[in-house]
Amino acid sequence: MNIFVLIKQVPDQGSKAGVNADGTIDRAKAKRMLNPFDRFALEAALSTKRRYGGIVTAITMGPPPAVEILYEAIAHGVDGAILLSDRRLAASDTLATAYALSQTVRWAGAFDLVFCGLQTTDGDTAQVGPQLAERLKVPQITYCESFEIIEGHIQASRVIEGGTQTVKSPLPAVVTVANSAERLAYKTLRGAQRVQQLQRDEEARKQVIRTVTLDDIEAVPDRCGLKGSPTIVAATEKVGEIGGSCIIYQGRSIEGLVQDALVAIPRELVQA
């Protein structure tokens, strides 16, 4: 089976991202991590390989540092990786992202399954997976919690309000994986070894992690990036820092923390 898994690098939830002058998010400043939802997609892809055999390729669209999550995926056992990176992709909305990713998948070749995460922790739209399926003209199964491959079909259990739904679809298909699915198994020794070999050996690296541009995947530049994104960000307003009005007391014992808090709370409130 030929299996693709789409993963995205997002700002580390623990660190603060800034806002650019034009209202877009300044991602360069934030620490980065693999989108936590994509860990479930990664496990689904790797478990498909374990159970049914095949080759897993991780695909990401992002600036050059996004290669970090591809290494992470390799440490967990994916066979190959593709980084779609092109300045002309900057400020893509979900329409443009799904278009560019669909071109990347086409370029990468025939597939049986494409796994996506449910959503991301930065964009949070949950639109890319479904749009991708539409563009690739294949069936989609969203909120997939568990699945089996039976005679060229995928039979999946979807999370729905108040229960689960079992659906069956022919392959190829796009599957977005729920975050209640199997958690990602720990990285493997061989994966960790391979990452280091690739970091040392540029030739091998180029073969395993292919970096492509819009030209390589034959994407129309006007359908990508700001130009290809009908979503108009009219304005971005900083409405104050999250947690700005919340003082976190730490670094002291509970007794000390309570003392600090009592000093800070207006008298009237304490008495009431």
Binding site: T188, L189, G251, R252, E255, G256
Partner: protein
């Protein structure tokens, strides 16, 4: 099937000792062109994140390894400018006149290190160094612990380091394996080959780092006395670090009679001392951690430091010198010495005689000399429990009254002849001047020293001026930041019935079990269900010090290395 994961050399633990070994070996391989593939296995997810130390260290090995260590970014908190040995009463502190401080505790000119930072620096630099040596391949496996040792017959051939269930993916094989793991796994080698002549005498060290508003960079105190005056071998330390940080710690020997030592709480008692209250009053706790220290020294050394296919280094052997609380330079030296011998063995493809040569080199060098000199250090206190049980408390009491000398005098005068001879004898043991002639000491293991109904004289703990500087054990755990994966079960309890009996025994005495009392992180507990009291564990709190395993009177616990990099985050300790 993919080929097995195989290396020339496998280093278990990104430790003080193994990182020294690796640096030295790379330097030698660079010069000689010797081809080497090396795997470095570390159970913590970040270098140094599972390491707690003091640490004051003589930089002599660091200087051999990095002649430019003063200018190359090697992280040093400070050079010791003022080194004190102090007697603590419950209220006062008496700094001993410099002239009578044992040489081993005069630390002026030595380095104050935050060992976790040193480890990270050395590891990162090692990786960079390896990239520049084409004949060396170094693979680092961070967040992978060695779980069991692999043998072919009696030869060590590698370790199991993951749990996918597929041996080909879980086993790391090597021509030679070096254990710098503080005994975490290599204790199995000592047992299998019956290499223990004497049990190890373990201490537990609990430590906190504080951000304060006072600058004591370079000033250090080692303390004796308060808060432990029940005869237990122990001592406190306070080191002034860079950037107005201070570390405060207490080392308590686990061969105590007391089944309820409560190390973390004793550290709070220590901090309640007026002197420390003054230092910490405007401070904030940054980190908390604990680790065990092998203090048996010379007589606890294993009969062999290496077996076929593997050697032990650092604390895994037990080369720390308790008289000067110095393990860092000793551990480094074992690595330094091992590197040279391993380099030659790989060059000749001949490992015969390596074990003997290694042991000889360690024992004939400064490590062996220091261990030999202070071989009777612990014995002095074991033989004469009045030293810590009566003499020290007497001195502490008079320190509180403002005339510490009188305490020693009045204690000596009460039975002049006996006291003088025994003091001279003890002093000669402590200072390593007994001149031999004594038969080898024989130790009993820590757990065997426990006296369930031991009733120590209560120590008056001062009410802290700033109660908010004092932490409960469950609060302190947050500052060690343990994190565990789902399904973690790294501590084995062998027989629940044994625990039930143990719980009953201690409850009858109005105490709790040693595992519950002495845990540094609020892990062990008593569960009450259907009228039976059973032993339970909140493993997610564990900071992997191994104290519970050492003090369990029934040998009913085993602390295993964790999977998935789980455990505390000690970085900064």
């Amino acid at each position: 099937m993919q080929p097995a994961l195989r290396y020339d050399l496998l280093l278990v633990g990104a430790s003080t000792s193994n990182l020294t070994l690796a640096h030295r070996l790379l330097d030698l391989a660079k010069a000689s062109g010797q081809k080497l593939s090396i795997a470095l296995l570390e159970k913590s997810p970040q270098f140094g994140a599972h390491i707690v130390s003091g640490a004051i260290s003589d930089p002599h090995v660091i200087a051999k390894l990095f002649p430019d260590y003063l200018t190359n970014g090697f992280p040093i908190e400070a050079e010791v400018t003022n080194s004190h040995l102090s007697i603590l009463g419950a209220k006062e502190k008496w700094d001993l006149p410099h002239g009578i401080v044992p040489i081993g505790l005069r630390k002026e000119g030595q380095c104050i290190l935050t060992l976790s930072q040193v480890i990270r620096w050395m590891a990162e630099r090692l990786q960079a160094k390896a990239l520049e040596i084409p004949n060396v391949q170094l693979d680092v496996f961070l967040g992978f612990a060695a779980h069991s040792i692999l043998f072919e017959g009696d030869r060590v051939v590698g370790v199991k380091a993951s749990a996918t269930g597929d041996d080909n993916e879980d086993n790391l094989y090597a021509e030679y394996t070096c254990f710098g793991d503080k005994g975490f796994l290599s204790r199995d080698l000592l047992d299998r080959f019956e290499l223990r002549a004497n049990p190890q005498l373990w201490s537990v060290g609990v430590k906190e780092v504080w951000q304060t508003d006072v600058d004591y960079q370079g000033v250090i105190w080692h303390t004796l006395g308060y808060p432990i005056l029940d005869g237990t071998f122990s001592g406190g330390f306070v080191y002034g670090l860079a950037n107005k940080r201070i570390c405060v710690g207490l080392v308590i020997s686990l061969d105590s009679k007391d089944p309820n030592l409560n190390p973390q709480q004793r550290l709070q008692h220590f901090k309640a001392h007026p002197w420390l209250q003054e230092l910490l009053k405007n401070g904030k706790l940054v980190k908390y951690g604990a680790a065990t220290i092998p203090e048996g020294g010379y007589y606890s050394l294993p009969t062999k430091f290496a077996v076929e296919g593997a050697m032990l280094l650092g604390d895994a052997i037990g080369v720390l010198d308790a008289a000067s609380l110095s393990g860092v330079d000793k551990s480094m030296e074992t690595g330094y010495v091992a590197a040279g011998l391993l380099h030659d063995a790989f060059a000749k493809q001949n490992f015969v005689g390596l074990a003997g040569a290694y042991q000889k080199a360690v024992m004939e060098g400064f490590v062996g000399q220091a261990l030999h000199t202070s071989k009777d250090f612990r014995r002095a206190f074991l033989e004469n429990d009045r030293l810590l049980g009566e003499y020290l408390p007497a001195v502490c009491r008079s320190a509180d009254k403002g005339h510490p000398w009188l305490g020693s005098l009045s204690f000596g005068l009460s039975k002049p002849f006996q006291r003088v001879t025994e003091s001279i004898h003890a002093l000669s043991l402590i200072l390593g001047k007994s001149g031999g002639g004594l038969p080898p000491a024989s130790y009993t293991s820590c757990r065997e020293n426990i006296v369930p109904d031991f009733a120590p004289a209560p120590v008056a703990v001062m009410a802290p001026a700033k109660p908010e500087t004092i932490y409960s054990r469950s609060d302190a755990v947050f500052y060690a930041a343990p994190r565990y994966h789902e399904g973690n079960k790294h501590i084995e309890e062998f027989d629940p019935k044994v625990c039930q009996n143990c719980i009953t025994t201690y409850e009858r005495l109005g105490k709790t079990t040693p595992c519950i009392a002495d845990c540094t992180a609020e892990v062990h507990r008593i569960d009450i269900g259907a009228g039976v009291r059973t032993h339970g564990m909140s493993l997610e709190n564990c900071i992997q010090c191994r104290t519970c395993e050492i003090v369990c009177p029934q040998t009913n616990l085993r602390v295993n290395p964790t999977y998935e990099g789980s455990g505390p985050d000690f970085f900064g300790l």
